[in-house]
Amino acid sequence: MRIRVLLFARAREAYGKPEAALRFDQPATPAACFEQLCVEAPRLEALRPSLLVAVNERYAEWEQELLADDEVAFIPPVSGG
């Protein structure tokens, strides 16, 4: 199962790239995606308490079960306007 992950703002900087393509052999969640990213970029870990999750452009839960080709985004506190 492939999952596309997007990172923004401070999370993008901490990860070093704006997106990642992950593969899972078993059911996955945004939390599992984040763990995989933290293996690559451990400094992401510190941001986790401040991040929200979106799945397919909707705010979602960290433990929501993902479907193939879902798009997961990690969203730092927003500051638009």
């Binding site: 401070r10 452009e57 985004a73 500051s79 638009g80």
Partner: protein, 132 residues
């Protein structure tokens, strides 16, 4: 304003966010906005639909600029039209207040002290970006 004008509207309330030369007592040279564009659009649409469900309004429009903006530039423009002024004001206030907490757009300030991501009311130092 043109986007929300109509013969049935008696009141048009607008809000423009502009780039300030200071923030929390620090000088600002310019801003950069980053957005999760597709989601920002759909969240903003949701917020406007919620406002239209709660108040009797005849139209609403919103536009957020992304990328680098200079002092005085308009970053966000909102307009709400209604037959009467109270719903126009209340819906407008709702849209901007919700936008500020829900719509995935981020602001990075650059000033004499360097570059900072703005996350709510606090300043967070930016890490240098590693090469991709």
């Amino acid at each position: 304003m043109r986007a929300v004008e109509s013969p049935t509207a008696g009141a048009i309330a607008t809000f423009a966010g502009t780039v300030r030369d200071h923030h929390l007592g620090k000088q600002v040279a310019f801003l950069e906005y980053e957005g999760y564009e597709s989601m920002a659009r759909s969240e903003l649409m949701d917020v406007i639909e919620e406002a239209a469900g709660r108040w009797s309004i005849s139209g609403a429009a919103a536009h957020h600029r992304l990328g680098r903006l200079e002092i005085g530039d308009i970053s966000i423009g909102l307009a709400v039209a209604s037959a009467h002024r109270a719903p126009a004001f209340e819906a407008l206030r709702y849209v901007i207040d919700e936008l500020k907490v829900r719509v995935p757009v981020w602001k990075r300030e650059t000033g004499p002290d360097g570059t900072h991501w703005i996350e709510g009311p606090e300043l967070v130092p930016t890490r240098p970006e590693p090469a991709d």
